[in-house]
């Protein structure tokens, strides 16, 4: 079960992502060439240089639900409808964090609590959002105000450490409590219509719709092992699908089909509804085609039902999750186990245009967690799930290989103002090649699951990127027996940040060990340095030793963890703590001596090419748009089409 199953609830409202944007350009990590201008508004595309990193829900409420085959829409249907969906009220809000300036396409939410509150503000439910990156990033919006983030994405994870009100008066919530397992709940939400223009009310805010449902033991936590519809990318961009609609996932339980279309349909603008695509239908093909379908005659599909996307309040009340009761449609029931689900647009001649189709032959492979941070010598499991038409695929061969994904050569536009002095090149990723290790192949078990051990080299990757520690690795994966012409979601690959190894010295000093770390952080996170403690100054740091001690000792998942960016190795954090805990005769942490002038660390391998020239608006010169355009430029240079496997 998952958020696609009943009992489930849906919510809508706003979110705030008050991200800090100076670190959108990797070259700002070079301390030697950092200048205060980089902290100014709109410099190098930095549209929120004083961002706090806070991610939170605003004015969010439960708008609908499903229980025992009934749609719930008002408080009269169930007291849960109308409940507020809020974050923590006794600690700091969650934080939104990029994996790395060179991998900004998997931003994760850390430390977010989700709570449901009734009208009397009594807490019915609380849970901790297990940190998860967004997925399914696409260009959902074609127009809007300047600086609108036209991309949309979704998050799927589980709520952990669930707490229920003992006297739940909501049948929906009681059913949810009884249905879920392992003390977890499944949660998914879509974010879109985000404003980056400081002059509009929506600045740093966007819309969110989401769903919460039961979680069952053994299921993936970050996607649904079910029916996966994958959009064909256009030639313009891997994030702009050919037919203007994006991916969807769903479940067929033998009696009904439930689809999540919450991140599928394009919107006119952040402040309006969907684009009018005319009537949209869900159908199932009557055969299992060997290629992507384009136009099909009516005889080639069995219609399941309409997508009521133009019905007022449909999106708000369902978050785009639509169930189709198939009790009266024996043909669809018999076809669904072996034929693809389709999103159809009826044509004047009675035929259908296929806007979206289930993955070819129903085959699908997905890594559950796809973002890893590894200290030197650390190991983690990559969990992959293979399925065919939503049924676990046992004994399937899986192939894994290195990929650059959106990362390689990325992390800044082609110009930086003022230019870095000394020159800071955009580093190569994935060097040295043996920084992480994993098996090149695996086979799925009876549940369609394969576990692949991922390990970081015992000595770490060294410092191949020069001015920025750690190294990024991408791991692509696919079914070995994937059908020819299969369309993959270009975002489905694994991102690994392997930390540079460091051991805390017995007596760390400010000049030798702490200042380089704190200076970088102070440069890139000025909200802290300007208003709380100037991390570049020993004297300033000495005024906040206790608070720093607390923040650096908090676990990664705590919202107050330092650094907010969560990009410091365990060794570096241990060094900071030891420095804080090892005072000199004056009672203050050791100052040490300024180092002799040394040449700046060599930035990157000499083979690293300059970033491809890309055309960007001044305010886009770093960040996600730049990533997409750079990806396209690199593909073009390599002679590959977008979406083509590398």
């Amino acid at each position: 079960m998952s958020y696609l199953d009943a009992p489930r609830l849906h919510f809508r409202g706003w979110f705030q992502a008050d991200v800090s944007t100076i670190n959108n350009d990797v070259r700002t990590f070079q301390n030697e060439s950092f200048v205060p201008e980089y902290q100014q508004y709109n410099q190098n595309g930095s549209w929120n240089p004083e961002g706090t990193g806070i991610f939170r829900f605003l004015d969010c409420a439960v708008t609908g639900g499903a229980l025992d085959g009934r749609a719930l829409r008002t408080p009269a249907d169930d007291p849960a409808i109308g409940m507020l969906v809020e974050n923590a009220d006794q600690r700091a809000p969650g934080k939104l964090v990029d994996l790395d300036p060179q991998q900004q396409m998997v931003s994760q939410i850390w430390g977010m609590q989700v709570r449901l509150l009734d009208a009397a503000r009594k807490q019915a439910l609380s849970g901790e959002f297990k940190p998860a990156p967004f997925c399914n990033l696409w260009q959902r919006q074609q127009s809007g105000v300047a600086m609108d983030q036209k991309l949309a994405a979704n998050y799927q994870s589980v709520l952990e450490a669930i707490g229920w009100d003992e006297a739940l008066d909501s049948p929906l919530l009681r059913a949810l409590r009884d249905a879920t397992q392992d003390g977890l709940l499944s949660i998914a939400f879509n974010v879109y219509g985000y404003g980056r223009d400081a002059t509009i009310p929506r600045y740093t805010l966007g819309h969110v719709v989401g769903s919460i449902g039961p979680y069952l033991r053994g299921e993936p936590k970050h996607f649904v092992l079910g029916r996966q519809m994958v959009a064909v990318p256009s030639k313009q961009s891997p994030l702009a699908p050919l037919n203007g609609v994006y991916d969807a996932q769903g479940k067929f339980d033998g009696a009904s089909l439930t689809l999540d279309l919450g991140n599928t349909l394009p919107i006119k603008s952040a402040d309006t509804g969907f684009e009018d695509l005319g009537p949209l239908l869900i159908g199932v093909a009557t055969t299992n085609p060997t290629t992507e379908l384009t136009d099909v005659p009516a005889s080639a599909v069995t219609v399941i039902g309409e997508v009521p996307y133009q019905t007022p309040h449909w999106y708000a009340q369902t978050a785009g999750v639509q169930s189709y009761d198939l009790s009266g449609n024996a043909q669809a029931r018999s076809l669904l186990p072996g034929c693809p689900v389709l999103l159809l647009s009826p044509q004047a001649d009675g035929s259908y245009k296929v806007l979206l189709q289930e993955s070819l032959d129903g085959q699908y492979l997905r890594a559950d967690n796809f973002v890893f941070r590894l200290d030197a010598g650390e190991r983690a499991d990559i969990e992959l799930y293979a399925s065919r038409f939503g049924t676990p695929l046992a004994g399937a061969a899986v192939a894994l290989s290195a990929t650059e994904g959106f990362m390689g050569g990325s992390g800044g536009g082609d110009k930086m103002t003022p230019p870095t002095r000394p020159h800071a090149a955009i580093p190569d990723i994935a060097t040295p090649a043996d920084g992480v290790a994993y098996a090149a192949s695996a086979s799925t078990d009876g549940d369609g699951r394969a576990r692949v051990e991922l390990s970081a080299a015992a000595d770490g990757p060294g410092r191949p990127r020069g001015y920025i520690a750690g190294q990024l690795y991408g791991i692509g994966y696919q079914l070995s027996a994937q059908p020819a012409g299969y369309v993959s979601n270009p975002l489905n690959y694994i991102s690994v940040l392997a930390y540079t190894k460091s051991e805390p010295p017995p007596q760390p000093t400010w000049y030798e060990h702490i200042q380089p770390l704190f200076t970088q952080y102070g440069n890139l996170y000025p909200i802290m340095s300007r208003y709380v403690v100037d991390l570049r100054s020993y004297n300033s740091v000495c005024t906040r030793l206790k608070a720093l001690r607390l923040a650096f000792s908090l676990p990664l998942h705590d919202p107050n963890h330092m650094p907010v960016t969560r990009d410091l190795s365990a060794g570096d954090r241990a060094t900071i703590l030891r420095w804080l805990d090892t005072p000199g005769p004056d009672g203050l942490p050791l100052l040490g001596h300024p180092p002799m002038a040394e040449p700046a660390p060599k930035a990157v391998s000499s083979a690293a090419p300059e970033p491809p020239e890309i055309e960007l608006a001044p305010l886009q010169s770093a960040g996600k748009t730049a990533f997409v355009l750079q990806y396209l430029a690199r593909r073009e240079r390599a002679g590959q089409e977008p979406g083509e496997s590398s």
Binding site: R56, D59, Q90, R121, I200, P201, L205, V532, L550
Partner: protein, 346 residues
């Protein structure tokens, strides 16, 4: 000198049942908290990198007010009470009088830093019973001081004796050596420890009748504010004390032009100003919630409260740079309203 109604003092003196003492210690918790919002606002309104000495001095006072609030709460816990912090009524309705109508008409608001604010409000709040070297005039007698309020509580605690201290059933007190020195925040177990703790509150706020310094180099709050107004540190001279030490620079151009006493309701729903001020108020309320939990059986929650305090500081930044009124150029000031809903957009 700040004054409160004398009947409060008489009422404390009349307390026979320790439970009746709870409300006065709750008042003490509220009183110690009530000065933090105005002081904090003044400190936060100083633009970064400027007026550093003034900001540091106000901050040191705020930290001590937090200590005093903790001491008062611990005494309340020690005699079987339960501090109530997560309530709308816990926070004064600024601008207005401090808890217990203290101040004989003194109205305390939420304003940007200014010398008149420090002189007329902050110094009035902290004014000692006997300002050195000025002696109390006969005309001003008849009102009670905060010092007398605490004197009365001390007297009653001693009179009621050790039996009012609940040892076994009381929730744990908040002892936080990471944040407060053990000689300042210590377990309250008997009349001696309670009275000693109250002495610390009195000493740090008003100082003594003889010495304006609460510790070497560290004037009591009244004299710290006095030094800010005078523009020089307080020093010992041959014939007493004088504001004649190191200059304390003030750059009036480096203060955010906050509109005074902003309330959430002043700003249109859906505006950036509304979003920012609501976020600040929600975070502040979360801080009170965390403190309530801290002082009601979960001292470990103090670290979360500290995290929220730091968040409050950075949240103030965006808020104080958001224009509240195009015509005047004023920006949004904080609102210390207790809110329970995380709103800000329609």
């Amino acid at each position: 000198m700040i004054r409160l109604r004398p009947e409060i003092i008489s009422a404390i003196h009349a307390v026979e049942d320790p439970i009746d003492l709870h409300r006065y210690l709750q008042c003490a918790v509220e009183l110690e908290h009530s000065t933090i919002p105005p002081y904090l606002t003044a400190m936060l309104s100083l633009r970064p990198g400027t007026n550093l000495r003034i900001a540091a001095l106000i901050r040191s006072i705020i930290v001590q007010e937090m200590l005093h609030m903790s001491i008062a709460a611990n005494i309340l816990i020690a005699i079987g009470g339960h501090p109530q912090i997560d309530k709308r009524g816990f926070v004064p309705d600024y601008p207005g009088p401090l808890p217990m109508d203290i101040g004989n008409g003194l109205i305390v608001g939420i304003e940007a830093f200014s010398m008149p604010l420090v002189k007329n409000v902050f110094m009035a709040i902290e004014e000692p019973e006997q300002e050195i070297p000025i002696k109390l005039s006969a005309a001003e007698q008849g009102y009670a001081t905060i010092g007398q309020f605490y004197d009365a509580i001390q007297e009653r605690i001693r009179a009621l004796g050790p039996s009012i201290f609940v040892h076994k059933d009381a929730p744990p007190q908040v002892i936080a050596p990471r944040w407060f020195a053990p000689d300042k925040l210590f377990p309250i177990v008997d009349p001696d420890s309670a009275c000693h703790a109250i002495d610390i509150i009195k000493l740090e706020g008003e100082g003594t009748a003889l010495d304006p310094f609460q510790a070497p180099g560290e004037p009591a709050h009244f004299y710290t504010f006095g030094s800010i107004v005078a523009g020089r540190e307080l020093v010992v001279t041959a014939d007493g004390y004088a504001y004649a030490g190191t200059p304390i620079e003030f750059d009036p151009s480096a203060v955010w032009p906050l509109r005074a006493n902003c309330k959430i309701a002043d700003f249109a729903v859906g505006s950036q100003a509304r979003t920012r001020i609501e976020q600040f108020a929600y975070n502040y309320s979360a801080l009170l919630n965390a403190l309530h939990t801290t002082f009601n059986g979960h001292p470990e929650t103090l670290d979360r409260a500290i995290g929220l305090m730091y968040d409050l500081r950075v949240l103030a930044v965006a808020m104080m740079q958001t224009v509240a009124d195009e015509a005047s150029g004023q920006t949004v000031g904080p609102s210390f309203e207790y809110v329970k809903t995380q709103g800000g957009m329609p």
